[in-house]
Amino acid sequence: MSDTTTTMTRKASVPVPRPVGRRRLWVKAATLLVILSWCLFPFLWLVMTSLKLGDRALNSPDLFQGPFGLANYRNVFEQDFHLNLRNSLAVATMTTLICITVGSLAAYALARLPLKRRLILLTGVLAVSLFPPVALVPPLYEVWRSIGLLNKWEGLYLPYTAFELPLTIFILTTFYAAIPKELEEAAKVDGATPFQAFYKVVFPLAAPGVFAAGIIIFVAAWNEFLLASTFAPRNPEIAQTVPVAIAAFTGQVEFQRPIGTITAACVVVVIPMVVVALLFQRRIVAGLTAGSVKG
């Protein structure tokens, strides 16, 4: 809509009508193509490579040179990749659940606090979000080793929760602050306690924000590599997660990464994530921008 007004003003001020419009259309199409291929082309390479049989994947840079087949995918699951998927799913789900429960309580309280105190608390939360994860690795490794949390799901999702909480609180505070206070007050006039007003009135209204935050936390926990590869480096049966497995696949030849297996595992992971990204595009963008930029 706004774009038509732009073109109209332009026509009024610069009287060069047709060819410019046509050329602009081409420029737009070209830029679209550049952005799309930037984002998507590597995945074409990934899929094609994962389908190549034998040592073709390693030897031929030509994307469309066969023979093609699904052998690499069979290989992936023979190396217990489904167990890695299970571990990642469990760890990421636990992180998300804890973050959302704990974080939305805090965010709600912050959104309703007077500005001055909110600022102090949010500054503290911001400082935690600046912590580099690597600072936790040596000390937490020692602690986990002595209390037996190495190679355990708990050993991963507890620190993930601490790291994702600041972002959760930022995103959710924005969403809660947008809900008019009058609604809560009305609920209280009708006899609800403050806690009832929160979980019966405000929480359902904030659901889209909570959902967006949930996806973002899940993705972050699913993708984490530093802590996962230090605290649970081996053993898919126990706690090794997907990124660690993808970094650690070994082939028959030592010092040579099995390109076919790795690319196939990547495709297995990428497909559901792309579907999620496409399905919930709007929500994710809203959450991401609420968590960082708010102008």
Partner: protein
């Protein structure tokens, strides 16, 4: 709201709304405290405590995992006189400056283009999320194989023969920066696009009527108005880039002058375990990264915190 005094127990009780029934509900302020507590406790236990514990560990001397005795600041002296620490610091800074700069320029370009294009914006916006959503390890493996001599995809596209991108200093850094820019520039574009969309069209239009050219409009109108969004995007990207681990670990393992601070610290946890020296390094890294972050936050003023939560109102 003029209530700045700390609330006493009496006040809290008198604060309770009149129509409250039964004794089951908590007052609003008490509720606020109860609500914030779990988050604070969790962050204190799993984020703050380990950082402090690292300081304690760093004061002791270890042989493998056996504690030998008090070392004082010995580990820090050793770290600061270790060439490896300085070269890791140098790589981390080079990586951060180049990747954040490139991501900003490309991200801004994408955002400006997407802000104009009306048809196909939905698809582009969805596509732009994809590099963000996939694990960095996957991006790292993908670009490792594309840059690698075998199968040599990039070499065959540009006709470079057997050029060994990942096997020499300089170009190995380039490959790692490239992979990071590929994955993160779209994300920066997304953040800047959100900022662009808050700039009223009327402002740019009136500048156009006054005869401002395209570049003039960008330089004098759009960029100044986009400043808050740009600063926040730069803050988060910088802090994130300083932590770089995944790309280096997968693409070069730290060889050819590409060892980052995170990779260096991690080395002393499992591969050559030394909790004392490792903690000294991690504490130095922590101070460096948090310090840079805080400098940024200061420069930004506190409007990040306010802007974020007030903007939605």
């Amino acid at each position: 709201m003029t209530r700045v005094r700390p609330a006493t127990a009496d006040e809290t009780r008198s604060d309770v709304a009149p129509p409250r029934r039964r004794g089951s509900g908590l007052s609003e302020r008490a509720l606020a405290r109860v609500f914030v507590a779990p988050s604070l406790i969790l962050m204190a236990l799993v984020a703050l405590f380990p950082v402090l514990y690292a300081v304690v560990l760093s004061l002791f001397e270890y042989t493998r995992r056996e504690r030998q005795g008090f070392a004082g600041l010995g580990n820090y002296v050793a770290a600061l006189s270790d060439d490896r620490f300085w070269s890791a610091l140098w790589f981390t800074i080079v990586f951060t400056v180049t990747s954040v700069a490139a991501e900003f320029v490309i991200g801004l370009g994408f955002a400006l283009l997407m802000n104009q294009t009306f048809r196909g914006r939905g698809i582009t916006r969805a596509a732009i999320l994809i590099p963000w959503v996939i694990p960095t390890v996957i991006a790292a493996q993908m670009w490792f194989f594309m840059f690698n001599v075998t199968p040599g995809f990039i070499n065959s596209v540009f006709g470079l023969g057997d050029f060994n991108w990942l096997g020499q200093p300089g170009w190995a850094t380039f490959a790692i920066v490239f992979a990071d820019v590929w994955k993160t520039a779209p994300f920066v574009a997304l953040l800047l696009l959100a900022g662009l969309q808050t700039i009223p069209v009327e402002i740019t239009e009136s500048a156009m009527v006054d005869g401002a050219g395209r570049w003039q409009r960008l330089w004098y109108i759009t960029l100044p108005l986009l400043r808050p969004a740009i600063l926040v995007a730069l803050l988060f990207r910088t802090v994130d880039a300083l932590r770089v681990y995944d790309l280096v670990a997968v693409m070069t393992g730290g060889a050819f002058d590409t060892e980052s601070l995170s990779v260096l610290v991690q080395q002393y946890v499992v591969r050559t375990p030394d909790p004392g020296y490792g903690s000294a390094l991690s504490t130095l890294t922590f101070i460096l990264i948090l310090g840079i972050g805080l400098v940024f936050v200061r420069a930004l003023g506190r409007d990040i915190a306010i802007g974020r939560t007030e903007g939605a109102r």
